[in-house]
């Protein structure tokens, strides 16, 4: 027993010793595996600031961690609708662009500008306030959602390219034997059904809710999941799933590492990005709890450097938000190193900045409607 006590005491001393030795720190609240280790190393070397990263799996968790003030984070990376909610509840500090000189050296891609405009529009419609979100947020990564499909199924690729959403939702007329899956996020499911019905995914009413329910029931989903979806399609255990385009690229890169070619891989599974789909953007924002504003601004500025942003994208399957970083990535298209070549190819194919389409970011819905959506999804799940 005494030994045990001694061990505990020693451990406590060790921990406090470790904590005392560190200099200035940046407390970053981030998604898992969403920041390249090389970027961390370079930032720490350049500024002498240690990055302490905490990871969370959902925007709602970011929100609760900030509002409950359990830890004072200096920088958070929430998505579009959560930024709206945080601004609305005055949880974010405006950025000081004097400390972000790199902002003037880069331009946001058209798609990104469009998302910020839409966020402003939906916010105006909902609250009556005009908010310029670039005052609070600098984009980190963004990306579309699409339908990852099993290309071993004959005719599925052609049908998706020709009929789009119809193939995914209309399970009576199209591929009745194919298995379909939806991302297990109630608002995403509702939004896709709304797009299929020809509405904006950000409108809501009781009628829309029951229409969406009918659509989701008609799709006859065999699965509601998150990270397994991409792997199931990859392994041929599932035929179609609504996922982040980045989910597909994750698996693509992993298979490329296993020495397969892009042609071989996409013959097995590929992603179809509908002309009208939802899109997300993750943003660097500074919460009101921040203690090291200087480090937070330095980090934002550092990330806006096209080289650094491209470096960060090497380990993450999402799209970079600035034209300059995009150019860095696609300039590798003639690279002899197969990784860099494939990386450029993937960005040109799946995140091409000239792609035409209507992309909706999801807005922050009132909580009683979120409650209704979650209940509706539970009904769809339990009723089959």
């Amino acid at each position: 027993m005494k030994k045990l006590l001694l061990a505990v005491t020693l451990m406590m001393i060790a921990i406090s010793a470790v904590s005392c030795s560190s200099g200035p720190t940046l407390r970053l609240l981030n998604w898992g595996e969403y920041l390249n280790d090389d970027v961390i190393t370079r930032f720490e070397e350049e500024y002498g600031i240690t990055i302490k990263q905490t990871i969370a799996a959902s925007n709602e968790l970011f929100y609760s961690k900030i509002i409950s003030n359990t830890t004072a984070y200096d920088l958070v990376i929430p998505s579009d609708y959560m930024v709206e909610k945080m601004v609305e509840e005055e949880l974010l500090l405006p950025l000081d662009y004097n400390q972000i000189p790199n902002r003037a050296l880069v331009t946001y891609m058209d798609g990104v500008v469009e998302i910020y405009n839409q966020m402003t529009t939906t916010t105006l419609a909902r609250t009556g306030h005009t908010v310029d979100y670039s005052e609070y947020a600098v984009p980190y990564f963004w990306g579309t959602y699409g339908i990852i499909y099993n290309n071993r199924v004959d005719g599925l690729e052609e049908a998706l390219n020709q009929y789009g959403w119809e193939v995914f939702f209309n399970s009576t007329d199209y591929f009745p034997n194919a298995s379909r899956a939806m991302y297990d996020v109630p608002q995403d499911a509702y939004a896709t059904a709304m797009i299929y019905l020809g509405h904006s995914p950000n409108e809501y009413s009781a009628t829309f809710l029951s229409d969406a329910q009918t659509v989701l029931e008609g799709a006859n989903f065999s699965q509601w999941g998150d990270d397994q979806l991409k792997k199931d399609v990859e392994a041929g255990n599932l035929d179609m799933a609504f996922v982040y385009t980045g989910d597909f690229l994750d698996r693509l890169y992993i298979q490329l590492d296993e020495e397969r070619t892009i042609e071989e891989i996409t013959a097995d599974f590929n992603i179809y990005i509908p002309d009208t789909t939802i899109v997300f953007i993750d943003n660097m924002v500074i919460p009101y709890t921040a203690t090291n504003l200087d480090a937070a601004h330095k980090f934002i500025n550092f990330l806006l450097d096209p080289e650094i942003m491209a470096l960060n994208a090497e380990s993450v399957g999402y799209a970079v938000p600035t034209n300059e970083a995009y150019d860095v990535i696609v300039s590798h298209i003639d690279d002899t190193d197969s990784f860099y070549h494939n990386w450029a190819y993937a960005n040109l194919t799946y995140y091409n900045k000239n792609a035409e389409g209507t992309y909706y970011p999801l807005t922050s819905l009132p909580s009683d409607f979120v409650d209704d959506i979650t209940s509706m999804i539970d009904v769809v799940k339990t009723s089959n």
Partner: protein, 306 residues
């Protein structure tokens, strides 16, 4: 002989109601062994699959490519994984140690009560064990938020970054469900002890605390160890309660392995090194256990020689 007695009605063993099952015995024995094996296999199936996955050279989990040990040394390369393992170990070891010590003393305290009172308190002791994880986790979080706010209003000099969420809340939350397991295991052993034992020690002038340490605890050692093992298991396996009560202390994120895994699979892929770590932990424990059993047997044999 047969002719002479053939007229008499002879009752066979069967007619006495005795059935000869001995022929069936080998069959039932094999059946029992097979069924036991199947159940054990079911209990360990997931662990076996994790072990297989940890040996797969490919990180594509649906097919096995070739045997490779590369994910094992790779554990050390994964900084985030190492932090999570460290956090898990720190939280679980502190919580287990405290739960074992405190739980043992609390059990002695409860044991000293009258039977009726003790039963009432043991009833309450069962609540943390039986309560749904999600209810425990969420409600503890609510309480800790209140406590945190209270501390920060009283001690205004505390830095903004200071918070009880992290190591303190995790250890307290783990203690909440670990102490009852220790008490449950210690209590039956206390009842088995001779009540005169302690009285004799005290009559002989041994100080009360010393009497516990020197006399009582050796007698209930088996229960304390069993309680410690269960407390550690519950602590290392916990996800939901830790999920609600995690945070940062000393600038270190105390997300345990479960919370970390849940966070990582939110947007990216899990490194197969996680499987390697799980496999190592299981194998290490099994080897330690077998080693312990063997060394004990050897000791036993020496005794017989004497």
């Amino acid at each position: 002989m047969t002719d002479r007695y053939s007229d008499y009605p002879v009752a066979t063993l069967k007619e006495y109601g005795y059935r000869d099952y001995s022929k069936l015995k080998p069959v039932t024995r094999i059946l029992k062994q097979v069924l036991s094996f199947v159940i054990f296999f079911g209990l360990y199936l997931s662990i076996i699959i994790i072990a297989i996955q940890s040996l797969n050279s490919s990180s594509v989990m649906s097919s096995f490519e070739s045997i490779s040990l590369k994910w094992y040394p790779n554990i050390l390369q994964e900084d985030d994984l190492m932090t999570a393992i460290g956090a898990t170990m720190i939280v679980s070891l502190i919580a287990t140690a405290l739960a074992t010590i405190l739980g043992t003393f609390f059990a002695i305290g409860l044991y000293a009560m009258s039977k009726k009172k003790r039963q009432q308190w043991m009833l309450l002791n069962n609540v943390p064990i039986l309560n749904a994880d999600i209810v425990t986790g969420f409600s503890l979080m609510l309480m800790f938020i209140l406590v945190n706010t209270f501390i920060k209003t009283v001690f205004t000099s505390l830095p903004q970054a200071w918070s009880i969420f992290g190591l303190p809340t995790l250890v307290l939350a783990h203690l909440f469900f670990a102490i009852p397991f220790v008490i449950l295991n210690v209590m039956p052993k206390l009842k088995e002890t001779d009540p005169n034992l302690m009285d004799a020690a005290l009559d002989l002038g041994v100080k009360p605390l010393k009497a516990i340490v020197k006399v009582l605890i050796p007698a209930i050692k088996a229960g304390v160890f069993a309680g410690m093992l269960l407390a550690f298991t519950m602590s290392i396996d916990d996800f939901v309660i830790s999920f609600f009560n995690t945070g940062e202390t000393f600038g270190m994120s105390f997300d345990n392995l479960s919370v970390w895994i849940y966070g990582v699979i939110g947007r990216r892929d899990l490194s197969p090194s996680v499987y390697a770590f799980s496999t190592l932990l299981t194998i290490f424990t099994l080897v330690a256990l077998i080693g312990y059993e063997l060394s004990k047997n050897r000791k036993g044999r020496v005794k017989i020689k004497k």
